[in-house]
Symmetry: C2
DNA sequence: CAACAAAGTAGGCGACGCCCACATCCTGGC
DNA sequence: GCCAGGATGTGGGCGTCGCCTACTTTGTTG
């Protein structure tokens, strides 16, 4: 049970990530300090540097965790729904918005990091994988004739922009408070209209 | 010409804001430091505190400037275009995306601040005014029969989510590089489809 | 079991935000 | 005219931070 103070922590790296995510959620990104993290875990202020070369490295790792969690949530949502684009989109939208509101700061982190050039390739790979899933959803729907033709990339961007914008606004309390769960269905309907196939005249 | 060192700067507050905005644009939000700002302006490190009680106050003021600039850009865009919803939306979208890509960090700041409870009422007023303009655009379009009926708030949120999401993604280099100016027209078309009036059967 | 790498410790450096006491400038009421 | 007081700027100090280096303890492996 080695719960008492040992010289070696056991898995400091994982502990740091877990605690950092808690702090991020509870007290915001500004309150994230390596030294305080170390204090919380009862370890010297320089110990974290053995696992993350600097603060940015920890943030990157945190973002990676975020992408993992998000991908998992999205995949789970897809597993539990039907085949039609409408159903899959609805499930995905719900999952994305839920994630954004539950982990707003983490999502922020994920997007603020992704575009820096030196982000680890793991990280860009995670982002990559994530967008590819998005694309396959679109391509599939196009094949089924449920989405208008044209560059899947473009359609994907349109759909994802709407989703991401909504999720971001919801997460930052920028939406009127009465706007709520039910409105997500309306949003999905709006998206569906936006990318519905052109009616043959 | 009083360009030589005077004890009083003249308008340190304005100078701080200007310089802070430059730094924000050029070196990102992490590089914003009151002390460095003071050094840049040839003033002691405590001088800024006479004009902004703390760093957050300066960021708030910066966000306020941002809302002002954005509102002005949007208004200008509206003045220079036609009456139809499609034209007005297109002009607004261009202005918003332009602002977001030119001043990505500032936009970020504006949105990260808005939802903190103690944000100055000036600031929430600016945000308020901003969303009201958005709403009037929608209501107008509904009156003209160019947008489907229903709560203007809801439609506004849908439209704005798309715009904001796109602008945010564009500003953080999260969009494939070939996606460019012309695609904005496609995005506008997508939005128009999303909120087009229901066709009478 | 000795050598070595991994993991943690202790202390120091410069920069930061914030606070204080003090200096200088400016202005309005006498 | 002048001078009292507010506004503005100075300088120093405090605690915290991220990062660095030198050292110690632990675990592994030949």
């Amino acid at each position: 049970m080695h719960t008492r103070r040992r010289y070696h922590h056991g898995d400091l790296r994982a502990a740091l990530l877990t605690r950092a995510e808690e702090t991020l959620r509870e007290k915001g990104p500004a309150a994230l300090s390596l030294r305080e993290l170390a204090r919380d875990l009862g370890v010297s202020h320089a110990a974290p540097s053995r696992h993350f070369k600097d603060k940015q490295a920890l943030l990157d790792a945190l973002a990676l965790v975020g992408f993992g969690r998000l991908a998992e949530a999205m995949a789970a949502a897809q597993r539990g729904t039907g085949e039609s684009f409408a159903e899959r989109l609805r499930a995905g939208a719900r999952a994305y918005v839920d994630f954004a509101t539950a982990d707003a700061e983490l999502l922020d982190l994920m997007y603020s990091i992704k575009h820096t050039p030196e982000a680890s390739e793991e990280l860009s790979a995670a982002a990559q994988r994530w967008t590819e899933e998005m694309m396959s959803l679109i391509v599939d729907a196009q094949r089924r004739g449920e989405v208008r033709e044209g560059s899947p990339e473009r359609v994907g961007i349109e759909v994802f922009s709407t989703l991401h914008g909504y999720a971001t606004l919801a997460a930052s309390d920028s939406l009127p408070p009465d706007v709520c769960t039910q409105d997500l269905d309306e949003l999905v309907a709006y998206i569906l209209r936006g990318c519905a196939p052109e009616k043959s005249a």
